[in-house]
Amino acid sequence: MQADAQLALADDEQMAFEVPGVLVDRATHYCPGCHHGIAHRLVAEVLEEMGVVEDTICVASIGCSVFIYNYLAVDSVEAPHGRAPAVATGVKRARMDKIVFTYQGDGDLASIGLAEVMHAANRGERITIVFVNNTVYGMTGGQMAPTTLIGQKTTTCPGGRCRDREGMPIRMAEIIAGLGGVAYSARASLDSVKNIRAARKAVRKAFDVQQQGLGFGFVELLSGCPTNWRMDAVKANTRIREEMIPYFPLGVYKDVTEGEGVC
């Protein structure tokens, strides 16, 4: 009872959001300051808002993100590294009446899984992809990712990523927007309340276009990985604003509901 009293809102406090019921109430394995928890919540809120929780199949990828199935109470299947868009294609073609989405990190989607995501997008598979871009391989200990910024130090580019040696960071939302079957492609950020609100709208739209049968829905979420960036959570948010967003501009790169047609 005493704990309940302590947890109760004070007069000058108000509840910012209710925890979605589809989110499992359990201890997190994600590091302090990690944005996966926020990304999970946005997906959970959108699925509940759309009323499709019981018709949704999640395709988990490889990396920290694989454990989404521990936090989201929906039917799930685990895909090999990078192959989630192909697995989702199989699930969706088998059950066209279901909502199917993948949840992938930058190593999984933009490196080993580049062929699968681009062709699923180009075919216009009626699936949604939530792409979490934190510019490093998180689970394996902070190696260089295809989205690692120029000059960013990782365990496999200890002197900082060099354009001449490792190439430029890949901008996925723009690449996906250029492919034929894409109904929606956008980039949002999880660094601030304002950007999280915008991200929620983008996630919703990426699921809406699937539900409406318009085509492939893609949303990239710029996220922090304080552990592998070797900085605290506040500095990580600052880094997203000062270093990531200038290179990975936020915005909607394709939206067929705004007039641009899809075949």
Binding site: E54, T56, D75, A86, V91, R93, R95
Partner: protein, 291 residues
Amino acid sequence: MPHNTPDTGTPERIFIKGNEAIAHGALAAGCRCYFGYPITPQNDIPEMMSFALPDAGGEFVQAESEVASANMLLGAAAAGIRALTSSSSPGISLMQEAISYMAGSELPGVIVNMNRGGPGLGDIGPSQGDYFQSVKGGGHGDYKLLVLAPATCQECYDMMVEAFDLAFKYRNPVMVLGDAIVGQMKEPVTPWKPAAAEGPGSAEAADWRLEGARGRKPRLLKSLFLEDGALAGQNRHLQAKYASMQAEARAECFLTDDAELIVVAYGSIGRIAKSAIRKLRAQWRSRESAS
């Protein structure tokens, strides 16, 4: 009706290639999804499925690679659908990752391998060089497939029906292993319709397939077992299943009762071995009668 139009319900003999018989058999077995990538000598299979499956209410996808084909198969299997992919040796090598995941996640699916020569790019002629990657697992980890090896076009048809039944019976990938001879030769085939052709919504996958957690707890199909002792437990479970699959082992015995030497072979080579044995027996009889 043209010869190459699948009609799984007509009990007439049709003159078709082994590859076509594979497609006919898959359709008769209730296959509703096909995923594949072009490679010789099995292209008749995707070509036939591309026009036959949509008519059968199914989905055909030409994937961007064999890697993707096999992972699409994994996805359709997770939804509890009877699904198929086909390829030939180099393509099967690319599929081994997904096949390992399917075995680890206990997902049923059928993979046709029309074996061609290797290693490397090899050639496009018949070979049995994929024997080990077919029967010993092929990908990473300890797992096994059930492998059926047709020697005739009729067996191509029959074994496709059996392959789907076995895949769902054991929740395990099943491979149908032919070669360039079996796939490309033409023979009369009698199509037949299985009594209980399974399809979407069927009972065979009702207790594990993914379809959205409506009125029940969410289901999870995975091959990751990190908890202390969990993977060892999963592997013991899988090994017990593979041991039970031994009950499906079968062989055709041909003139073995009085044999001093027995030739063991499968598929097209098994058929050639039978011809050789017939000839050798005839030679032996003529020598016996002459002496």
